[in-house]
Symmetry: C2
Subunit: 247 residues, 2 copies
DNA sequence: GGGGAAACCTGACATATGTCAAGTTCCTCT
DNA sequence: AGAGGAACTTGACATATGTCAGGTTTCCCC
């Protein structure tokens, strides 16, 4: 089998069931009545994506919303010169693309699988029908957008008042919640879902700078890196990074 | 009369009429039926604010939304150390505070009048009642939030890929649309609604850096500054700043 | 008009980070 | 296993920007 690349078309898979979907019940879609779940179930299209494949690309028309059944996606935004930032990550259970769906119908970001992913697509017409029948669904998206906006503003604030090293510490701490596993000796280990370039794009920096910060963190005993594997011997040391001493 | 300071309470004024309000018809509120405008009209509270006064402060509970009848506000966000960024500006006709209203009820930003302002407050109960009766109102806020989020992401991208000088050019160009007046000789003049500190907070920079950038822009003939007054002799020079030559 | 505070500017200096150019390691495919 | 390439690291250097300290201007209130 050929290696899946960015250009490999996504694979449609046997449809999972929206009724029994564990994620539906914890997301915006939990407000749907039984017959509306039926609509969802009939119209969704489920596909799988390998790491590196795009779910959608900046500039393409937005013809519906997506829901992640499994996997992690990177949401990137690029300017005209190709410079990109990694705006956020999206994980299983989250809905995707609703921002551009409500804003105007063209994707202003790209979504790329970081891990093997399984994703449901719900087309425009179905979403509109569901919104018409369930005002609470719209309010759910409203809440979600409001919280996304808060996070974006937090990121904006952080990017202008914190050093790159401190933002790196923030990033490690947020990744820890999802990816780290505790070892017997009290340390934490995790495998990063992100390349150095991805990290640089999140920090608004360069890979060389990321490498230097990693070097510095290792020197100070805060974390040890080996490729994408990280060992954090003491969580308190990381917490100290984001909460300056004596403050 | 004492000079209005940050602590001077806002002044409630004779209520303007929502039915005839020119802004209502161009905003989210335009979808309201006649009897709903009546609700708005009865429950809104209109106040005036002098420059420097706060409409609301980060951390306060959010008990409703605001609508700007006249004036310009600065929306700021601060971290625990008091570092602040100026997240955005809001002008007459815009609604205010809906983000925190939908997200959870605590203001995550502060709003401060930059010019004398007149602002209507619509309390929580009235907003909820209007939302219940007008699903389209919720969709209107949805669209607005989606576009705010887009702008926030644009700002995030710009802050990490553009130089401070280029962002300054972007800022001047966006302020021009609202504040600049064309002179007979083809140049543009405007009076900035922002202090150097405000500009630095927008650029994610320092007042000293802003002063240096101003110096550089004057040296290159792009703009001339005298306090808050700016003369832009040639718009093309400013546009060149944001679109690097030969690109 | 004068005093005082706030806003603003300037210079000298330190430093974080970008840039460029080699290396090295790691991974994948044949 | 070996070849090739991508990802990553390292070093030398340039530079934008922060920091600090001092000075000037502007504005407001008495």
């Amino acid at each position: 089998m050929a290696k899946p690349t960015d250009r490999t078309p996504p694979v449609s898979v046997a449809a999972p069931n929206c009724f029994s979907c564990q994620w539906r019940q914890r997301s915006e879609w939990c407000v749907l009545a039984r017959e509306d779940v039926q609509i969802l179930n009939e119209h969704k299209i489920t596909s799988t994506f390998e790491p590196g494949q795009h779910v959608f690309r900046q500039g393409e028309p937005c013809n519906g919303v997506y829901s992640i059944v499994a996997g992690t996606l990177a949401i990137r935004k690029a300017d005209v010169h190709g410079n990109a930032v990694l705006v956020r990550m999206r994980h299983e259970g989250e809905t995707l693309g609703y921002r551009d769906f409500f804003a105007g119908g063209v994707f202003t970001t790209s979504a790329e699988a970081l891990e093997p992913a399984r994703i449901c697509f719900i087309d425009k017409r179905s979403v509109r029908a569901l919104l018409d029948r369930n005002p609470a669904l719209g309010l759910g998206f409203l809440r979600r957008l409001a919280s996304d906006l808060q996070k974006a503003e937090d990121a904006l604030l952080m990017s202008s008042v914190l050093t790159t090293r401190t933002r790196m510490a923030h990033l490690l701490l947020s990744l820890k919640d999802r990816y780290a596993i505790a070892q017997d000796d009290g340390s934490l280990t995790m495998r990063l879902p992100l390349s150095r370039q991805d990290i640089a794009d999140i920090l608004g920096s360069r890979t060389e700078t990321v490498a230097r910060i990693i070097q510095a963190l290792e020197k100070d005993g805060v974390a040890r890196f080996s490729g994408r594997n990280v060992i954090m011997p003491d969580l308190d040391l990381l917490l100290d990074e984001i909460e300056p001493a004596g403050d």
